[in-house]
């Protein structure tokens, strides 16, 4: 019984991170039609900012959320404003834009990663923060991971509320549904798309901050997280934010179960699930 709870809790913690990493990607694709392969690099930058601030200045990693979030937001805004917007103006055909934007994102991945190597080197980095255990009902949990889970859920819910309850959130959703009609209603589409990309980068930054509390960091850590985010996004339905959250938790629990059977097969199980899903229901669990 305790082992089942353990698997479940581990799955939820993993799922929280997966959900947080995928929400941003899902929105970038769902609204801006950018399949951002460089998503994981934004996570990496967020994680390393936290590492730097914590090890050099002793700043609490939770405070880094306030630093890394805006930094990544601005970075995302600039990337969209100067690169993806230019591409969008040059490729009016939507399908061509999707393909080319993926390749452009791959180039951005290289640039950010190599700049990261200049700044932070290639060694594995890490720090310990709240690395003690807490006992709940006789089961041992590590404190920092519980904190990660809490903040991941909190940030996801906050993001969802932003999208559904606020005016800019509504404008973003309108832009996703019908860009032309939205622009006729007075929504500045280009601003919305940039905002949306920037918010996605910010969510990635948050995920990076949280990750760095309990996991090892390396400048090439981005791509694996991107790949998992892609799986989660497809699982939940491309462009569906609640779908990504749900998909994140489902994938986390599956990962945790497979991990107890054979750790070497976790990633293979993800891909298998992912490919079967693409064949059976490409629109995902909550997709339209």
């Amino acid at each position: 019984m305790t082992s089942i709870i353990n698997i479940l809790v581990n799955g939820l913690i993993l799922g929280g991170i997966y959900a947080l990493t995928s929400v941003g990607l899902s929105m970038q694709y769902g609204v801006a039609r950018i399949f951002n392969i460089a998503h994981g690099e934004f996570i990496m930058v967020g994680a390393f900012i936290t590492w730097m601030l914590y090890t050099s200045f002793g700043i609490n990693p939770l405070l880094c959320l306030v630093v890394a979030g805006p930094v990544l937001f601005i970075l995302g805004f600039i990337v969209h404003r100067y690169l993806f917007k230019t591409l969008k103006d040059k490729t009016p055909v939507p399908t061509a834009f999707e393909g080319n934007s993926m390749l452009l994102a791959f180039g951005i991945l290289f640039i950010i990663q190599s700049l990261g190597i200049y700044l932070w080197g290639t060694q594995i980095k890490g720090y310990s923060f709240m690395a003690y255990s807490i006992y709940l009902g006789g089961i041992r949990f590590s404190a920092n991971r519980m904190l990660i889970l809490f903040f991941a859920v909190f940030l996801c819910v906050l993001f969802y509320l932003f999208l559904t309850r606020t005016r800019p959130g509504k404008a973003i959703r309108a832009a996703a549904q019908d860009p032309e009609a939205a622009s006729l209603m007075g929504v500045d589409i280009n601003k919305m798309l940039a905002l949306c990309f920037a918010l996605g980068a910010m969510m990635a930054g948050f995920a990076g901050v949280l990750l760095s509390m309990a996991y090892q960091l390396q400048t090439n850590m981005g791509l694996p997280y991107t790949i998992i985010a892609i799986i989660v996004v497809v699982l939940g339905g491309l462009g569906s934010i609640p779908g990504s959250m749900l998909g994140g938790f489902i994938l986390g629990i599956i990962g945790s179960i497979v991990n107890t059977i054979d750790p070497g097969l976790t990633l293979a199980a993800y891909y298998l699930l992912f490919m079967i899903l693409l064949l059976v229901r490409p629109s995902g669990i909550l997709g339209r």
């Binding site: 399949f35 690169l83 230019t86 591409l87 040059k90 490729t91 399908t95 999707e98 393909g99 080319n100 993926m102 390749l103 452009l104 791959f106 180039g107 951005i108 991945l109 290289f110 640039i111 990663q113 190599s114 700049l115 190597i117 791509l223 790949i227 892609i230 799986i231 497809v234 491309l238 054979d262 070497g264 097969l265 990633l267 293979a268 891909y271 298998l272 992912f274 490919m275 693409l278 064949l279 490409p282």
Partner: protein, 318 residues
């Protein structure tokens, strides 16, 4: 004047082709070993890019499965090793990729657009992780050694693969199958309605492109001499072919060829000259290519030429 040009082309082009072939065959005898190795790498990228373009160019289905077929070819060389002649191993590598692509094509080519792309991307990772698991748990060792072949042999086999690929691309392009393929790219529904067997055509073309990728993989393994799943199924090899093709220009047969040649030469020299900033430069080239050279080098050439000749015409008409 027209008549003159025709006559000129009729003698010049075949002579030019023969000269190029003779030159390439003579290369291992007349140049330094480094040139052969460099040329082999360039040929590898050209083959991968042309194979990718064979299917993805006309149909518009962006495949990211190149690394899967390439890696399968590499592994074929590792598994067969010295037990069969090299040429047999190479053909086996091509065939296994053909078979896998055939199966994958049969189940996935119903997927359109981004879903097909994501699926092929996932395929590479799935094979990589299954292979890793298999090597660690069943074989007990990660990676394997491949018996080396000498540089000249590798060069000639790559040259032969490239020649076969060029001929295939050329004949496909001028045949009715090539037309049918591009009709899929422009409008798949319309292609179905005018009676093209879209599914079969896509599967066969996809599998043929994988065949050439597999051939290339097997022969390259003998040059690298050590492979493991991370090397063999590196997603890098999936992203390079579309990039090189776009860099050269997708609309023309020579576009991808030129793109791959220039790009891979740049890459090889960048790695040796600037090992540390190589990735940064590479990323910048990628971004600039996609943003500012949408029709590739060929497009750039045509624009310049148009401007030059166009200017002349404007003068005479006025």
């Amino acid at each position: 004047m027209n008549w003159k040009t025709i006559k000129y082309n009729r003698y010049l082009y075949p002579a030019l082709y023969i000269l190029i072939i003779v030159l390439f065959i003579a290369i291992p005898y007349i140049t330094a070993p480094y040139t052969i190795i460099l040329l082999s790498s360039i040929f590898m990228y050209i083959s991968l890019t042309l194979s990718w373009t064979l299917f993805s160019g006309p149909t518009g289905y962006t495949s990211l499965a190149t690394a899967a077929f390439f890696g399968l070819g590499l592994y074929m060389a590792g598994i067969l090793g010295d037990s069969v002649p090299l040429i047999v191993a190479v053909i086996c590598g091509g065939l296994i990729s053909f078979i896998l692509a055939f199966i994958i094509g049969a189940i996935t080519l119903r997927l359109r657009g981004i879903y097909f792309t994501i699926f092929t991307f996932g395929l590479v990772e799935l094979i990589k992780h299954l292979m890793l698991w298999w090597e660690i748990n069943i074989v007990g060792v990660r990676g394997r050694f491949v018996p080396r072949a000498d540089n000249a042999t590798v060069f000639y086999i790559l040259l032969a693969i490239l020649a076969a690929l060029l001929l295939t691309t050329y004949f496909l392009k001028s045949s009715r199958y090539g037309m049918a393929l591009s009709s899929i790219g422009s409008n798949e529904e319309a292609a179905i309605h005018i009676g093209i067997n879209v599914v079969n055509l896509k599967i066969i073309t996809f599998a043929s492109s994988a065949f050439f990728i597999g051939l290339t993989g097997t022969i390259m393994a003998t040059r690298w001499s050590y492979i493991d799943p991370y090397i063999a199924f590196d997603p890098f090899y999936s992203f390079l072919p579309p990039l090189m093709a776009i860099f050269g220009g997708l609309g023309n047969l020579f576009g991808p060829l030129l793109g791959a040649a220039v790009f891979s030469y740049l890459q090889e020299t960048l790695i040796t000259r600037f090992p540390y900033s190589y990735m940064l430069i590479f990323g910048l080239i990628m971004v600039i290519t996609i943003l500012y050279l949408p029709n590739g080098l060929i497009g750039l050439y045509q624009t310049i030429r148009q401007r030059f000749i166009g200017g002349k015409h404007a003068d005479t008409s006025s």
